[in-house]
Symmetry: C2
Subunit: 343 residues, 2 copies
Amino acid sequence: MSGIHLNDREPTMREVAALAGVSLKTVSRVINQEAGVSSELNERVQNAVRQLNYQPNTTASNLRRADQRTATIGLILDDVSNPFSSVLHRAIEDVASQHRTLVFAGSSGDDPKREEELILALAARRVDGLITVPASRASGELKQLQRLGKPVVFVDRLATIHTADSVTVDNRAGGSAAVRHLAAHGHQRIAFLGDIHDLWTAAERYLGYVEGLAMAGLRLDPSLVRQDVRNMETAEQAVLELLARENAPSALFTAQNLITIGAIHALQRMGRQHQMALIGFDDFLLADLLDPRVSVIAQDPARLGRLAAELLFARLGGDTRPTQQIVLPTRLIARGSGEIPIT
Amino acid sequence: MSGIHLNDREPTMREVAALAGVSLKTVSRVINQEAGVSSELNERVQNAVRQLNYQPNTTASNLRRADQRTATIGLILDDVSNPFSSVLHRAIEDVASQHRTLVFAGSSGDDPKREEELILALAARRVDGLITVPASRASGELKQLQRLGKPVVFVDRLATIHTADSVTVDNRAGGSAAVRHLAAHGHQRIAFLGDIHDLWTAAERYLGYVEGLAMAGLRLDPSLVRQDVRNMETAEQAVLELLARENAPSALFTAQNLITIGAIHALQRMGRQHQMALIGFDDFLLADLLDPRVSVIAQDPARLGRLAAELLFARLGGDTRPTQQIVLPTRLIARGSGEIPIT
DNA sequence: TTGAAAGCGCTACCAA
DNA sequence: TTGGTAGCGCTTTCAA
């Protein structure tokens, strides 16, 4: 059997109208459930629709429609397959589906060029709005979108556009809390491993680290700071190096979920998981089943996503209040790895 | 500052034409990079485009375009936030982006009603094709899509439509291998925990379980079979019950990633993780860092996704070969939990 | 090489 | 309550 099928051409409203013996406009009324169609004509149209298997063409209706809505939004994540991002995605989808809206999802890979491409592609398809985890601090394309009246919501990370709603967590407080918690267990040499330093979250968590050290009265040792750690493998390598050096740290603050996991790989490989204290930013599946159980600064990605989507749809619904900058707290979950005392 | 912005209205081709002092058609030629525009007019148009910040409207161009392409595909997963699904998603996105195509992603929640809604919503937006992890075995909407010439590719799971390409793994062989591996370590009472029994993968893995028992010369004990286990919590509960009964199993075959994780929760809670053998279907992050390390029947979701997307785009490129049913092998990764001998 | 006119499938507006 | 006509932003067709 062939993979490509009889190209029947999709039935149009005009064809439905012809079959039902009514005008085009009457079919339009029935499809859009407008009031003022007699139940008899309604019935006839419905029958014709069924008979022809008619599917309304949203893309055509949108063209003419006054509000120009496509019932479509864009979502730009760093990576749709990252566990944190994908939970965010699901929460947004759930809100969108309540508004009969479909979600274009894309991965920027934290690459400003790819991010720009995505924004342009979404704009070309006339999405009603955009939720984005911005990779770059400033984006002309984004401003362009806003100028056209499309609402933009930042989630998880901030950009320098201050005219958009945002939902983030208090990364700095979380980072600071992690460091102070480690310090409270006697640690003085606490290493920092963070994502690309240009990302807002990575920068904020680093600031939290710096603040936390200061509050604990500890000196910042630049040789214990590893920025631009971009994935699990790099993280594992970085921790192996830290472990190998003389004057090694006694505790790690890993500022992102995949970095934490890479670090655990390194610790287990060296059999040091019970000596080296560890707190990771972001909770993750199975953190509570590892040995030792992993202490984390937890966020609630589902809540972040839901709030971001609700903000977006509020704007689409006509909400013109001042832009909101929602900042959610983080929560330190002490499970064991963060409470390993200094030896 | 207000959250909604000056509604500038998007510039149209007509406006670009007016500014450049050329006809609408000339602008169209430039935008679509058609041959036969003098470099002088080309330049003038480009300038006008930049000056007005013109963004082509794909949705309008599609309406008139002969091939009716929207450069958009649909992707229906069970849950975009499931680690397996989200890796599949990313692989598909990567192929799609090479074809300058955007992906609508949606979660069916393995609910046929929601799946149908999604298909209709995607059809209304005139996606060029659809990749789906089918929740239901048969779908009229899907056939409808195909009749309109839209290619459909099944991935991970099969449905009863045989006129579509598909990419799956040999679930039955994988299930059978898992059971025989456990039997080879002396186990005779091997429990099965599977997803909703109506799902193709769940059914196939169960058949593999049955076959494996038969090949190992073991009797199938229905009281050791738990089907319709729908999430981590249910799985944990089911394992707790199995552990509590007299004549408990000595080994578990957990036929899906979240079920495996739920089972591990239960085992650790009862301190039985070193007595009860366990093999899970699907590999997962951290399986190699747990204690014991978790043996799995691994698939390659990224490869599944890539192949599915390549098949779809081949069809969109005019490939009319007979439909393909690609079946990839699984791989048993012995890490420890599956090699715990009977006590 | 360039442009004018028609029309993609639909909704808005107004008349019957 | 119903329908005709115009037109959304673009591509197609054909003529200049």
